[in-house]
Symmetry: C2
Amino acid sequence: MSELRHDPIQKRWVIIAVERGRRPSDFKKQPIATRQVRTCPFCYGNEDKTPPEIFAIRPSNTKPNTPGWKLRVIPNKFPALKVEGELNRRGLGLYDLMDGVGAHEVIIETPNHGAHIGEMELDDVIMIAKVYRDRINDLYKDQRLRYALIFKNYGETAGASLSHPHSQLIATPITPRTVATELDSAREHYLSKERCLFCDIMHQEKALGERVVLETEKFFAYCPFASRFPFEITLMPKKHSHDYSLMNDDEIKDFALALKTVLHKLRISLNDPPYNFVLHTSPNYHVKRPGKANYWSTLPYDWHWHLEITPRMTKIAGFEWGTGFYINPTPPELAAEFLRQV
Amino acid sequence: MSELRHDPIQKRWVIIAVERGRRPSDFKKQPIATRQVRTCPFCYGNEDKTPPEIFAIRPSNTKPNTPGWKLRVIPNKFPALKVEGELNRRGLGLYDLMDGVGAHEVIIETPNHGAHIGEMELDDVIMIAKVYRDRINDLYKDQRLRYALIFKNYGETAGASLSHPHSQLIATPITPRTVATELDSAREHYLSKERCLFCDIMHQEKALGERVVLETEKFFAYCPFASRFPFEITLMPKKHSHDYSLMNDDEIKDFALALKTVLHKLRISLNDPPYNFVLHTSPNYHVKRPGKANYWSTLPYDWHWHLEITPRMTKIAGFEWGTGFYINPTPPELAAEFLRQV
């Protein structure tokens, strides 16, 4: 069983993932990066190389875990967290810990090994966006889970260990710190002004114009004023909403269009860069007994969901990781201007 | 002039470094990683390839910026921040910004291109540790600077763009967020218990023993309970002290021995891994007019300086970067046991 451990100095939770267990001798042999994958476990015909599917979009005349599917959701083979069991929150002297309860799923976005979201058919991107919505809704029925984090690692530099198009979902019994900080900022702003911080930023960015990347009917994409990375993009709904999973089909369609367009721009203009995206939606506000550390479990009316897209083209990793202080060599105004013109 | 920009959502400052300016077209040509360095600018005979030295340890019969030195401190050729000018703190609608005032120095640790701190003579490591101390003391005379951050990137994966042994110093007009969080935790603990959080952790770790890596006469090294990375190590003085630069020569000697030993253990047992270290010393408490955002500029009696050493052997970058949530596949107890036995 993995453990969630709390660092009393950084006030940060860390997953100590025993199941992914890497003993010291593993590191001496060979880094993960160089391991050869002979057959892709996410391609047709290799369905038995993954754990049994949780969900799939497939013709009704095909059986689970056989070819023919359009999209599959499977448990991660080396899960950081597992669905079974109780949290067993406990202390250990100065430290806090709990059992590694949660979910770790992989969304195999397409059977096409070489696909890229930026070049898929719009309908296929809509399908992926709907599956995100449905998985969040499903997992938020579980009272133990406080947050469902959807993210994508594209390219080796961005942390992908398999190149077949996929995204991941990790549902945790706590809200990740980065999201928590944003929730705090949004609440503080709302309590002081009775306005949404994200809506205010969007209005200011629209008025200034210089950091705008894209506007669709219902979505807005811009390079943040204090971007950490070159060509960093935030994508958010124009209509205030705290919860990704409340989108209706029209909204999902427009979201898929905006996402596809932004990723396409990055791909064709920057030589197919590695990137990550992370969905910052609402914490699970259906939890009946929120703890103090999870006060956002009350309806986060002041929250505005958004997707953060961060290309990985600079290698200034160490300093930033150790300090939370970022050096970005490309002003976001320049990045946005470039991306608008693609 | 670079700018320091504040993100109102993440409450984080970012350096938008115009001087390091990378236009979109730079990324299309070639990533930094693959640029060939033909001659090392940090080796003997190439002193004119760096900006003029700020400080050097060299025989009295040699001239500045000529060979013969044992250690050189130079301004970074592409500085993120510059010493000249005023901060010009200002607002821009919802945003805050100031000019990129600070210092960005490179400490060339040795003329020996292939050296590793873990295998240097103890006297040479002592020399490096003393230069860290002297540079912090010098920069903290400047009332504009609130923090001096010393760090090292070793190996390409850890962000080093030149392999010649060097560390860096970035002095900033704000305290980096990661350090600020730790300062907050330490103050909160002190106000509640009148004890140092780090001293308390050290006592607990000594009593438990399972995460201890090394103890010298005056220093203590352990793998933190909630380690983010495999083989992460924190090194701290046993005697409570908030300020690295207050160490006397005896303490510096023992610190150098502990640092050298720990880095040697990592190098020989884990196939010379890339790593970063970051020194978390006191903010500049000599500042006469601390702002609210820099209240640590009062004497941080409750702070305990330490060095964080983080090997870079896992490639789980994207998720962690976007969320502040870490997944560590190697329990720190296992890592510490392994490192103790090296």
